[in-house]
Symmetry: none
Amino acid sequence: MATRMKLKLKTVFVLYFMVSLLGLVYALMQLGGQHCDCREHMSVITQLREELRRLQEQLKKSGATKLPPKLPAKPSLPTIYVITPTYARLVQKAELTRLSQTFLHVPNLHWIVVEDSPHKTPLVSDLLFKSGLTYTHLHMLTAKDRKLQEGDPSWLKPRGVEQRNEALRWLREDRRVQPGGDRQQGVVYFADDDNTYSVQIFEEMRSTQRVSVWPVGLVGGMKFESPVVEGGKVVRFHTGWRPSRPFPMDMAGFSVSLKLVLANPEACFDGEAPMGFLESSFLQGLVTMDELEPKADNCSKVLVWHTRTEKPKMKREEALQAQGLGSDPAVEV
Amino acid sequence: MATRMKLKLKTVFVLYFMVSLLGLVYALMQLGGQHCDCREHMSVITQLREELRRLQEQLKKSGATKLPPKLPAKPSLPTIYVITPTYARLVQKAELTRLSQTFLHVPNLHWIVVEDSPHKTPLVSDLLFKSGLTYTHLHMLTAKDRKLQEGDPSWLKPRGVEQRNEALRWLREDRRVQPGGDRQQGVVYFADDDNTYSVQIFEEMRSTQRVSVWPVGLVGGMKFESPVVEGGKVVRFHTGWRPSRPFPMDMAGFSVSLKLVLANPEACFDGEAPMGFLESSFLQGLVTMDELEPKADNCSKVLVWHTRTEKPKMKREEALQAQGLGSDPAVEV
């Protein structure tokens, strides 16, 4: 009985020992061949995910940067002088507000705002002062016979001509220093207050040597107008109207180096130019088609849109004003 | 001798059995608590590394590394959830671009963009991805019988109703946690893509407890519409039409606390509401006039404008397309 039990126990023990030993060996082989440490994997996965998130954030910013007002000036970057003619109307403050908020994302931007007015208005003065931008505030009243009258179609006379010329005059006077000096580094751009600008377009134009060009969306009855680039050169223009014009481009579609503007003190906009020739009147003394510098990925990307804001209807306002119940004129709109 | 051996073997066997049993129990607990699947982890890690490499490539190409760092999130500030319904049209990209550039100035803003479309479009997806903003991209097609048809006057049927409701549904699902939790701190604002927003309005609305209100410029045939404040309370409304409506305010003129939105899961916009009653259909279940919180210096400042962008004319485009000379459809406008 004792011997049988001894034998039985011994057999069971040996079998059990061997089976568990096999298990141990198998486990060790597993560990050696493919070591699986959950915590380590999880930590690698977490690290990778954090890195991914960081990169995604960075990448998102590639088109636009999130910055608090008043960017620090970067001495190495050429200044972009943005010339904006503006005139009093119901949507003026709205337009200038959203424009200024776009410009706030652009380092080294100097905004030259020229009012079509006999004096600087408090609305524009105040807006510029609070904008956080570097700016110059000018005014130049358009001569009455050159001005669009109420009811005139907007193409009848070009708007903003004398204001743009006044800004050019100011620039030439302000930057008149020893030629080749640092104060001549810069780019000049004409940005009307109703258009839409991606902040990217400013980085495109910053490297302008003579005249940079790019497509403009929603202009001239077209989805876009654009220089056509072949082999890195502008060879013609995609436009819906008179492609034979010297420079069949919208005002929003080019920038000029400050040096070129200063070196050609007579170059300006001709208010008497036939319709559609205003841009050409300024550019044809400065550059040839062959010299144009195509930007925005060889003119394949639309980064500026010729948007127009509807004139708001004021029928109810007028009706209420007739009853003495109009909107408080002390509230600036 | 046999007895001693029997005892010894028995003891060793029992001890060995117990120790290995403990080991087995431990192994089983490990398996139950944290199932470690090496192959799954390795595949996740490989995927993440590939995604990282892809993003790094993209980042290099975009040159984004040169841009300044993103404004850090401020945990102390309530998030502003801006809900923007949008639909495909010629000016869509321009409008969303300038809107996104305004929002980029606002810390802790979460943009919820809802397309009126059967699917998310590449144009909006891409714009959001590159925007630098925190966002959620949704879509909800408006039922055909509720949709404005080509040529309908814009007041005939309200636009964006089902898209705003979809955003509310998403918010309620996403923020559904224990009541009073941190994830319920926030403000909800409905910002259409054609309006103009001063960045200041977002700081005004950030302190919303229930419903904040302020003037809206250029709306309803008026210079502005506004709550009228006396003794710090809204007592009536300055509006050109039916001041007797429960809340005669434009969509751009109020914000609602996230808590209030979550506490009233049935509150939404009623697309069948009579013209001019859409805002009221949402607000009347949430708040009384007496509870409204006037912002923007007791509703004396206009910081939002109901601007509208003209529909661009495409006559030349159509004429050129007929000749096979239309604008390259591969260029996104």
